[in-house]
Every structure is written in C-alpha cells, then in structure tokens.
Amino acid sequence: MQTIFSIGADALAYGMVLFVISIGLSVTMGLMKFVNLAHGAFAMLGGYIASYATQSLGWHFGFALLAAVALCMILAVPLERFLYRRFYGASELRQVLMTIGLTFMMIGIANWLMGPTLKTIALPPSLQGPVDIGFRSFPAHKIFAAAVGLITALGLWLLIERTFFGVKLRAAVDDAKMAEALGIRTKAVYAISFALAIGLAAMGGVVGAQLLPIEPQYALHHMVTFLVVVCVGGAGSIGGALAACLILGMVKTTGAYLWPEFGNFFFYLAVIAIVSMLPNGLMGRAK
C-alpha cells in the first residue's frame, strides 16, 4: 500500500516537471502553429543562465530564475523579429530544419562556452534535501516544481481563455487577415506569444534541472519527450498537456518500478495507444 502511494507521489511529481518544461512548446505548436524544435535549447539556455547566476555570481535561486526567464524573453524578441517571423506559414519541414539547425548551433555554443560537463543550479536550503510527507521522505524541489506547474497551468489558462490578449491571440491564429482587418496588431501578438513561450521554456529548464540536468546535449536528449507531451495532450491545449503529463508520468513511473527491464516499452505503448485513438491528442481541437 505504501509502495502504491509512493509511486503515485513520484508519478505526480515527474508529470508536473514534464508539464513545466513542455507547456511552452505546446503554446508555440498549438497556438502559433510553429514547430519549434529549438524549444529544448531555450530551456537549456535558461538553465545555464540560472546555473551561472547561482554558482558564479552567488545569486539567490529565486532571482536567478527570474533573470533566466527575463534574459531568454529579451533574446526572443530579436530572434522572432529577424528569424522566426520569416518562417511563419512556411511548410513544417522548413520550420523543423531551421529550428533543428538552431538547436545544433546552440549545442555547439554551449559546449564551447560552458564546457562539456553538466552544470548544477544551487538551490536554496529550503528546496534541498528530503521532506517528510507522512508515509515517506520526498525531494523538496519536486514539490516546488509541481507547485510551479500548477500555477503555470492556471495562469496560462486564465491568460488565453479569460483575457483580452487571449482573445486577440486566438483570433490571430484562427484567421490572421480577418484579425488584422479588425485592428489587431497580429505581428505584436505573435511576438509576445513567442517571447512568452521562450520564457516558459527557460522556466522549465531551471525548475526541472534537478531531473533533467543542464548539459550541452540537453536539447537533443529530451526533444522526443517534449514532442510526445504536446502530441498526446493536443497542441495548444493546456488542460490536454496537463492530462498528458500526468498519464505519461504515471505510466513511466509505474513501468520503471515494476518492469524496469522493459525500458520505455510501456511509455511508448501508451503514447501509440492514445495517439491512434485520439489523433488530435487528448484535448486537441480537430483540424
């Protein structure tokens, strides 16, 4: 019984970390219709900034997290203006090739600047070590990551479904020309959405760094996982991504406990089953 609770807690925590890291990609792919395979590279960039800020500059984790998100969002503006904007509406293959090229460049730069070894982010004492949650001890930073995931989910849902910006974004995505005719500055809406997605990537990279450590190959190592979350959840659906992360977290954690020798067999079996039954993902809109 205790083991079942234990696996449940691990699954929940893993699923939420997955959500924090993948949700930005769901925003770009679902709302902006852009296949941004460089998403993981921005998560890595955020991680490197936070690692440098906490380890070399001695900043507090909270400030480092804010700095990582802010710097990545600032970098996203010129990148969107001069590079990504040229590929809006382009074929998916061209988007994939451009962003995978960008990923390899960022891997190379990270390797050159920061070296091939992995970097850690110094956590404040309150997030270090185990916390007693009644039936077992549990890593404190995982509870923090899960909380960040929940707040992000709620915040994004409110932003997209309940604010005027959300209305404009959805209008710009559904029919850019009509939206523009109605006076919506679609370019600005896209730029803000892109920066927001990059900021989410950076936050995910920092918050999830204990589980997915920051190293130059980060983007390639975890790319498939991010894509699987978006695909299973339904691109652009926050509830879908959340559900996907929790289901996949449960399958992966249970599989790793009961049948570790099967590797990721059950994980991918679940992915195939869900995607073949629901081609648009759990909560994706039909095209």
């Binding site: 234990s6 390797n111 185990p130 001890s137």
Partner: protein, 388 residues
C-alpha cells in the same frame, strides 16, 4: 581491388617509413561532443608523457596525429583508422574511448602491420579481437570484482544491483554478482535501467522495498550518475544507511565537484585516483594539469594515455623504429613499470594491463571532494577475460 590498393599503399609507406626519423602515432578519441573532456584527458596524458620523457626515442621523434570521433560510431572509427594508416602512414594506433570503436578497427591491424594501444575502451573481449591489441586502461570486470570482497569484509549480506542497460553496465553487474555469490553473499535483485532514465525515484523505491543493505550501481558518468546520486540522497536511502557501492567510473574526479556532498562516503573500486600518493603520480598530475589548465578536469583516461605512450615508446625502442607490429607487441609482453597508478605490467597472454585496484572513499579534503584510497588489491588481472 580495394585491399590490393591499400596493401600497395601500405607497403610503399613501409618502405619509406622504416628509416625515417619521425614515427607517426594516430590517436582516435572523442575530442568534441559530449565526451570531449575524456578526449582532452587523452591529450593531457600524452602531453604529460612528452613533458616528462621527451618527444624522442633514440633518433626517432614521435608525432601524434589526432582524429575526432565524438560518439561511439564503429563505421566512422574504421574509416578514420584506415585513413590514418593509408593517408597519414601511422605506425601505431592508439586511443579508442568506446568498445565498439576499438572492435571495428581491430580487424585492420594485421593487414596494415600496425599495433593498437587501447587507452580506454574497457570490455574484456577487445584483446581477443586481434593479437596486435595492447590495453593500458582497465576492464569493467577488473574494477568491479574486488567490490564483492569489500562488501563481504564489511559484513554486508544482501545486495541489490542496479545498472544501466548497456554493455559496460551488464559487464559490471555480471562481475559483481559472480564474485559476491562466490564470496557467500546474496544478490536479492538485479535491476537494469533503460539508458534514457531521468527520474530515478521509482528505482529508489525498488531498492528500499528489496530490503538490501547495500546497492551496487553502474551508470555512465554525467547526467545519469548525477540524477542517480541525487535521487539516492533525496529519497532518504543514504540517511537510512543503505551503502552505495560502485566501480570508480561513477565518481571520476571531473564529476566530483558536481556530485559533491551527495557522493560523500561512497565506496568505489578503481585502478586510479588523482589523489594517489606516489612521486610518479605527483609528477604526472603536475604535468597533466599544466597542460589542461584546470586541475578539476583531470580524470582517469589521462593515465591510460600516459601509460599507453610508455608502451608505444618501448615498442619504438625495441623495433628501432622499424614497422614490425608483431615484434613491437612481443616486446611489451610481460613489460613491468611503475605507473602513476602504481606498479603495473602487461599480461603476456592477453596483452591487458595487470594493476592494483584500490578501494576509495569519497572524502572532503580542504573544501574539495577527492577519491581517498583506503585499501589495495594488488596485481589484479582481468577476471572477465576468456581465452579465445
């Protein structure tokens, strides 16, 4: 036809190369990509050898030609090896970080009349792939087996083994299970984890539920080891007194600054620790870190490369610079010398290095974590080697 061309080219080079005063050594290793630090350690070991012994053997000057192989890639390894032999005319091949790369290059050796000195790749079977292979690193069997004795000496009865599901992991598991069973211990469970595992919490729960007193683990160094050690501490296993045992790959010196306090007190068995206290090692580490620039980057592949250069220099002296691979390899069979890791010799039967294996404990000394040697297993051969 291809064979004929290569042979002709090689013969032409031999005829010209025999009396030349420059001996070329081709070194293949990961100089870029995820394992670039290990490639830099190859270079550090070679440069340290030159710094301490000079670049010449008699009248012959040694020239190193590096080729980058960022990840395990047998096809590319074979291609680079051929290119070094045919294009550059190397008389010796060296390096090879990953087993598949060494295996892919081995069939070319006899045809090309070139010996290979393996600086790192650690599967027992490599020396059987060609009679011209000499290895100066270690095998996973060699470093994992003494840990069974350590566990028994400390009164540990029940152990769970947890390894990454790939060649070295399986080797390590087999070596430990065999030796621990023979020493009267019980392996209660053996778990093989997929290589892509990032969340080790379920594994930690599994270890807890198994009721074992100790875990024997093997994972590739880097993100995996970091995640494993962190999970081990955060899930309370370390606090509960479960002992973590592993071969030294897990606590290599270049990873210790990151693993830090999570690894403190951990026991590992390995052939080399940067902290090894001997005049040979002090001279070696000074020369190697002078080249690396950063003392924290020095790790075990450097000593494999350093001793590899010692073997190559001996081969050059024994053959007086002539290209005769069989004679060169014969000359080092049974060769004994004092390495930075302690006394070593080349086993005449399998051309693998016989060496001391040390039990080390991760300890904090003057604010830095080191592998502190606390026990010696002398003159260990390779228990995983099976005569062909």
């Amino acid at each position: 036809m291809k064979f004929l061309c290569q042979t002709t080219a090689i013969l032409a080079l031999c005829a010209g190369g025999a009396f030349a005063d420059t001996i070329k050594v081709g070194v293949i290793g990961p100089f870029s990509g995820g394992a670039a630090l290990q490639g830099r350690n190859f270079q550090a070991g070679i440069e340290a050898y030159f710094a301490l012994n000079g670049r010449t053997v008699g009248d012959h000057e040694i020239e190193i030609i590096y080729r980058d192989l960022p990840a395990a890639d047998p096809g590319q390894s074979a291609a680079l090896t051929q290119e070094l032999i045919v294009g550059e005319g190397v008389q010796y091949l060296a390096g090879y970080y990953y087993t598949p790369d060494a295996m892919a290059a081995a069939p070319i050796l006899e045809e090309a009349n070139v010996p290979m000195v393996v600086f790192n790749a650690a599967t027992s079977a490599i020396v059987n792939a060609s009679p011209l292979v000499v290895r100066t690193s270690f095998t996973t069997f060699q470093t994992s087996t003494p840990m069974a004795t350590v566990a028994r000496e400390r009164g540990i009865e029940r152990v769970i083994t947890v390894v990454s599901d790939y060649g070295p992991g399986v080797d390590s598991e087999t070596a430990f299970v065999r030796a621990f069973g023979a020493a009267g211990g019980t392996v209660v469970e053996s778990v093989r984890m997929p290589m892509s595992t990032v969340d080790f919490s379920p594994i930690m729960q599994r270890i807890r539920d198994s009721g074992a007193e100790a875990v024997f683990a093997f994972l590739p160094a880097g993100p995996q080891t970091f995640g494993f050690m962190t999970a081990f501490v955060e899930n309370g296993l370390k606090a509960d007194g479960v002992q973590l045992l592993a071969p030294g790959d897990l606590t290599q010196e270049s990873d210790l600054p990151v693993l830090g306090p999570n690894a403190a007190g951990m026991l590992t068995t390995f052939h080399y620790a940067v902290s090894h206290n001997s005049p040979e090692n002090i001279a070696f580490t000074e020369a190697a870190t002078a080249w690396l620039g950063n003392p924290a980057e020095l790790s075990f592949p450097a000593v494999g490369a350093f001793d590899g250069m010692h073997v190559i220099a001996h081969m050059i002296a024994a053959t007086n610079g002539q290209q005769d691979a069989a004679a060169a390899v014969d000359s080092v069979k049974g060769l004994e010398w004092i390495s930075p890791r302690g006394p070593v010799s080349i086993n005449p039967d399998n051309r693998h290095i016989t060496q001391n294996i040390y039990l080390r404990e991760v300890a904090e000394v003057e604010g830095q974590y080191i592998n502190h040697e606390i026990q010696v297993f002398e003159n260990q051969g390779d228990p995983g080697w099976v005569a062909p």
